[in-house]
Amino acid sequence: MAEIAELKKIASQVRRDIVRMVHAVSSGHPGGSLGCADLLTALYFNHLEHDPSFNMNGKGEDLFFLSNGHISPVWYSVLARSGYFPVAELATFRHINSRVQGHPATHEHLPGIRIASGSLGQGLSAAIGVAQTKKLDGDDKMVYVLMGDGELQEGQVWEAAMYGAHYKCDNVVAIVDWNGRQIDGDTKDVMSLGDLPAKWKAFGWHVMEMDGNDMSSVLSGLQTAKGRSGSGQPTVVLMRTEMGKGVDFMEGTHKWHGSAPNDEQLADALSQLEETQGDY
């Protein structure tokens, strides 16, 4: 299990992978991927009890689901670097005949992926479904699901929220990437999310807040959330992040939600991100 200093180094490499992947195909979603690099690194290299040899049913393991599938680059990087598939395969991201699809999919049997995501709003439901099978089977491991904040505009999320509280799904931790931005602009301008903590609270969830770009905050937040298991109430972690975190010119704007850097911008980005694990 990697500790803070090591996790920070891994996260730097993950960020390099993200910008290199989207640059190589001139497409993909670097902004949210960079913002969530610390969370996914903490999950896969510290927090989750998981098995990179990969069993689809995930029995006896903590599971992670990415509902906002467009930030696939960050997930692919941590999956590859934690041993689910060869790191070299990251070079095939979004190419023809690749397992590393634009959005996460099971169709090509990429280890680590249990359900397709991309069309938003479905991941919380699926995560709750798996969590309920864990309860039926007496499996005490946890299920984590990450959603975008813009994704909360999808009605299905709130169907699932109502359901999760009704069934006391306390082995589910929903994490919201609360970066305040979406593809058309800031969430407050596109479709205001209102008082997000109050909304989740009203739906019966235990609400936590966490700084998603501070590794120690992420580790302790995840630990606290996990400790809620047995409380009879599901937990949501509203995770403050900066879209584009780690690359200065990508921060502070929604413009890098879904666009790739050119050669010059890539060089600039890489100069800000230490290569710690060896580029793929």
Binding site: A105, T106, G123, S125, A126, G129, Q132, D137, M162
Partner: protein, 317 residues
């Protein structure tokens, strides 16, 4: 032979689903059920009462139900979802497409109240496009059963089958005539040997076609009758073998002409063995309120409509 298929009374196809689900759950502890506030309508109470821990009331939230089911399938369960056919398909097409079909999840989408025979509730609920929507999804198995017994048998069969399935059935009390008949997914049932015209029918239209075949026999016209419970994968071999013998075909379904059984048969015959075909189906129209038989008459799905279609097909040989 036609005489092998006599009605032994009436029950809803949905009753066959309810009894089949209960029996499947007895046999396999991995079977779970989800329902969107229609437990009574779907006849899921027997299962729910026997296995309350394996029954998940979802409330009126069908999108959530489909993705929940996909999640339960990941965990190794065999989820059966239950709601009306309209809310099992059109309302949740994207959830089925991404979380179930594309993700290859072992979910059984069980859909009642399909078609016009839903009756008085009218067109908002009378879905006539669902077979088409489900047919288009790669990897989806599509089944439309014809009576209580076949629905029960199909429910048991899909519990044993690994992969996503759409099982379509209906609301009304309907003749039962398939007791103890074998059910194999993808395998048409050859109900009668005939040489003048092939009739392939699915769902409630199997009974209508049986009655039509009996009437035609009295006129000396023999019908080669196929009960096509599985529309995808279609039993190509049985259909080709039949039309090779008869030289013309009628397809009968409680569904739009576009995208249903008739379209699938036309796809097959157009590429393999061009054959005169007449479609008994709803012709690009929504339904309306009324009694099931009144609606079948008004929208061209009566026994007489099947008879007339058979004669038109024969005349085109």
């Amino acid at each position: 032979m036609l005489s092998d298929y006599q009605s032994s009374g009436k029950k809803g196809t949905r009753d066959g689903f309810g009894d089949g689900l209960h029996e499947a759950a007895v046999k396999n502890p991995e079977v779970v059920g989800l329902c969107a506030d229609l437990t009574g309508s779907l006849k899921m109470n027997k299962f729910k009462d026997a296995y309350p821990d394996r029954f998940f009331q979802v409330g009126i939230a069908e999108a959530n139900m489909m993705s929940l089911a996909a999640g339960m399938a990941i965990g190794g369960k065999i989820p059966f979802t239950g709601t009306f056919a309209n809310f099992s398909t059109g309302r949740v097409y994207d959830q089925i497409r991404q979380s179930i079909a594309y993700s290859d999840k072992n979910v059984k989408i069980c859909a009642s109240h399909a078609g016009l025979t839903l009756g008085e509730d009218g067109a908002t609920h009378q879905i006539l496009e669902d077979i088409g929507m489900m047919n288009m999804l790669p990897g989806m198995t599509v089944i439309n059963t014809c009576d209580y017994h076949q629905t029960k048998a199909a429910t048991l069969a899909i519990a044993e089958y690994e992969g996503p399935v759409y099982l379509r059935f209906g609301r009304p009390s309907w003749p039962m005539f398939m007791e103890d008949k074998p059910f194999v997914i993808g395998k048409a049932i050859h109900m009668n040997e005939g040489s003048d015209v092939t009739i392939v029918a699915t769902g409630h239209m199997v009974w209508q076609s049986l009655e039509a075949a009996r009437s035609l026999a009295e006129e000396g016209i023999t019908v080669d009758l196929l009960n096509i419970h599985t529309i995808k994968p279609l039993d190509d071999e049985a259909i080709l073998k039949s039309v090779t013998k008869t030289g013309c075909i009628v397809t009968a379904e409680e569904h739009q002409r576009n995208g249903g059984l008739g379209s699938c048969v036309a796809n097959l015959l157009g590429s393999k063995l061009p054959t005169p075909q007449e479609l008994v189906a709803v012709n690009d129209s929504f339904g309306e309120s009324g009694k099931p038989t009144e609606l079948l008459d008004k929208y061209g799905l009566s026994v007489d409509d099947v008879i007339a279609a058979a004669k038109r097909a024969i005349a085109r040989k």
